[in-house]
């Protein structure tokens, strides 16, 4: 098979899967919990900086994963208690509050690390030969990791009792409380899972991106398009959105050029906002 076609197909898969990895946390906080966390990109950025600190301390790259999870749990709990919980019933104020949080996080990181770009050593160098095309090993690993993570989360979502409790709480909070479910704790834990997934994404993609305080903003743009297309409030919508946005972007970039690809993505977003504002799979 023509190595160019193999490579561009792998690029397609990488574009969709890496976008999915980044919006996974948003699938939990927004898709499930219904919390519009505009600071989601900043949690991704924080994960990337945890990877930076890990490298500067001389520890192996993979140590950044548990460190990020720890850090995001602590930060997630604090943010949920102080910012999110008081504003659950006021979604627009919550939007503004999380946007303010994103500005705060960016400025703190800039004060601590400076505004410049930081490069990380890629943990697994070299390329793999796939059907005649040579593809960077680390990108293959990112795809494998994300698919595995996704499988785990889906298994948990469909099988575990904790997931059932969350579904109950999200479906009918009053009834859930009446049945004895601690909705406060459950909401907090779900939010924290969302921020941890964001931080985790940040760690994994940090070696293949430019680490700087504005890293999160790029992902917020894409996440916004994914939500418009996929639909607000549903996990399936976020997956569909990632597939369409990431896939279209990559496909048109490969066939034509990046300007056409971005133009088409914008066109699709405008089309959906105009004709189908609830997206493909909105929560009813």
């Amino acid at each position: 098979m023509d190595p160019l076609i193999v490579a561009q197909t792998l690029n397609f898969a990488y574009a969709v899967i890496s976008l999915l990895l980044v919006v996974l946390g948003l699938a939990v906080t927004l898709g499930w919990l219904g919390v519009m966390n505009l600071a989601h990109g900043e949690f991704v950025m924080l994960g990337a900086y945890v990877a930076v600190v890990t490298e500067r301390m001389g520890w192996p790259f993979w140590a950044a994963i548990p460190l990020t999870i720890l850090f995001c749990i602590v930060l997630g709990i604090v943010v949920e208690r102080l910012l999110i919980r008081p504003l659950y019933s006021r979604p627009f104020d919550l939007l503004l509050a999380t946007w303010g949080l994103s500005i705060l996080i960016r400025k703190i990181v800039e004060a601590a690390f400076g505004g410049g770009y930081i490069s990380l050593t890629v943990p697994v160098k070299g390329s793999l030969d796939i059907l005649g095309a040579s593809y960077p090993t680390y990108r293959i690993l990112i795809m494998a990791f994300t698919v595995a993570l996704l499988a785990m989360l889906l298994a948990w979502y469909f099988r575990s009792s904790a997931a059932a409790r969350v579904k109950a709480m999200v479906g009918n909070p009053m009834l859930a409380q009446a049945v004895g479910i601690d909705t406060n704790a459950l909401a907090r834990n779900t939010f924290v899972v969302g921020t941890c997934l964001a931080g985790l994404a940040g760690v994994i993609i940090a070696p293949v991106t430019s680490v700087n305080p504005f890293l999160g903003l790029d992902y917020v743009i894409n996440a916004f398009f994914v939500i418009i297309v996929g639909g607000l409030g549903s996990v399936l919508g976020l997956f569909a959105g990632s597939g369409i946005i990431g896939g279209l972007d990559s496909f048109v970039s490969a066939i034509l050029d990046r300007t056409s690809a971005f133009f088409l993505v914008l066109l699709i977003a405008i089309f959906f906002l105009w004709l189908r504002p609830r997206g493909l799979f909105a929560r009813n």
């Binding site: 690029n11 390329s127 490969a254 300007t259």
Partner: protein, 397 residues
């Protein structure tokens, strides 16, 4: 004689201030400002305080302040103390124009200097209308011939005209792929590149542009380049795009056999790209931190003495405004005023201090400069070739 005149001036100033101070206690702040303005020479520097280039803000500010401190230590401009006003050049052109109007009318700025993008430059030039002199300092696409506007910035003739022939000869290059951000500077640079590549016996096998402001990924472009297999890639993407492009390029293994020249490869960007991804990567500009000359060492020493341990990384974007402010001082000193005709006359063949040595403003209101070829493969930009007194190639009357 001079001493008596000086003390006369001082006591008159004191008298004016004393009586003015009494009135000023009751008057509006603008009144006080006008009094002080009579003695200070105001230079307004537009630098990147916000926006995508804001990472350069700290070093631009430090270099601008250093220039003003050195000028004041040497007696100011025609006896007047220089006051530096910092303005944000990283905002939308319309916003920058509004700030410029305020600075012209309310603050009565004497000289403007700008280290920002061309869109803002065009808005500022349209605002000044040649009334106040303005010096534009960073790297750009050439063609700025507005009256009372002086350019210290690197031009395409200086960058491309030196780097391409040298690289082609040194590495035996043949075909070239062009990748850039989609706006005026990369497009103009690429026009120069096409001519230079043709002159060196090469050909262009691809030309791509990626939008500014979009979240761009480069896997598809890099895969296309790999399929074309050129010997040389001219990289005119900037900032974070420059970092990600070069990282992606190297991760696909293209750095093994393909030489790259990046048009805006300065120290901060290289820090982001990293040593692992910089094999065969070059930059060509009028300033690198590693340039070793008595003047550049003296500048570095003064910069570090001023900024201490946490000194922002030195880069062309930063040292450019140092040169620009020094030009403003020298030309005003020679002209005796900031009258446009006097400044224009004084500016011809006028030498002034830059961070690497003496630069000379020519009659085309641009600077012929020494350019440096920087090899990035060690993770630091090391100067491997020096091109002396390269003409700016601009034809302003």
């Amino acid at each position: 004689m001079t001493k008596r005149t000086k003390s006369l001036n001082l006591s008159r100033r004191q008298f004016v201030l004393a009586s003015g101070g009494a009135a000023a206690a009751l008057a509006s702040p603008a009144f006080i400002r006008d009094l002080k303005a009579a003695d200070e020479f105001k230079i307004a520097a537009f630098i990147a305080l916000t926006g995508p280039a804001s990472l350069f803000g700290p070093t631009q500010k430090a270099c601008a302040e250093l220039a003003v401190e050195q000028i004041n230590a040497a007696g100011g401009i025609n006896g007047r103390e220089v006051k530096l006003i910092i303005a944000d050049g990283g905002v939308a052109p319309g916003e920058a124009a509004k700030t410029a109007v305020r600075l012209m009318l309310r603050d009565k700025v004497d000289f403007f200097a700008g280290s920002h993008d061309s869109a803002v430059r065009q808005a500022l030039v349209a605002t000044f209308k040649g009334k106040t002199p303005y010096v534009y300092t960073p790297i750009y696409e050439g063609g700025e011939c507005a009256p009372n506007t002086y350019v210290v910035a690197d031009t395409p003739a200086q960058q491309i005209g030196t780097a391409i022939p040298w690289l082609y000869k040194k590495h035996g290059l043949k075909d070239c792929y062009l990748v850039g951000n989609d706006y005026v500077w990369p497009r103009v640079l690429n026009e120069h590149t096409k001519k230079a590549v043709a002159a060196a016996g090469g050909s262009i096998v691809g030309e791509e542009y990626v939008p500014l402001g979009a979240p761009n990924k480069f896997e598809e472009i890099v895969t296309r380049i790999k399929a074309k297999n050129p010997s040389f890639v001219m990289v005119t993407v900037i900032g974070a795009y420059n970092v990600v492009f070069n990282q992606t390029f190297a991760s696909f293994g293209l750095d093994e056999n393909i030489t790259r020249l990046s048009a805006l490869l300065e120290e901060n960007t290289l820090l982001g790209i990293g040593k692992d991804n910089a094999k065969g990567l070059y930059g060509c500009m009028s300033y690198f931190e590693s340039v070793a000359s008595p003047d550049s060492e003296a500048f570095k020493k003064a910069y570090l003495a001023k900024m201490g341990d946490k000194a922002p990384q030195l880069s062309l974007i930063g040292t450019d405004i140092y040169a620009g402010i020094n030009f403003a001082a020298e030309v005003t000193k020679k002209a005796g005023s900031t009258d446009a005709a006097a400044v224009a006359k004084a500016a011809v063949d006028l030498p002034f201090k830059s961070a690497v040595g003496t630069w000379v403003m020519r009659s085309n209101r641009h600077v012929d400069k020494t350019m440096y070829m920087g090899d990035a493969s060690s993770g630091k930009l090391e100067v491997v070739e020096t091109f002396k007194d390269v003409a700016s190639g601009e034809t302003c009357k």
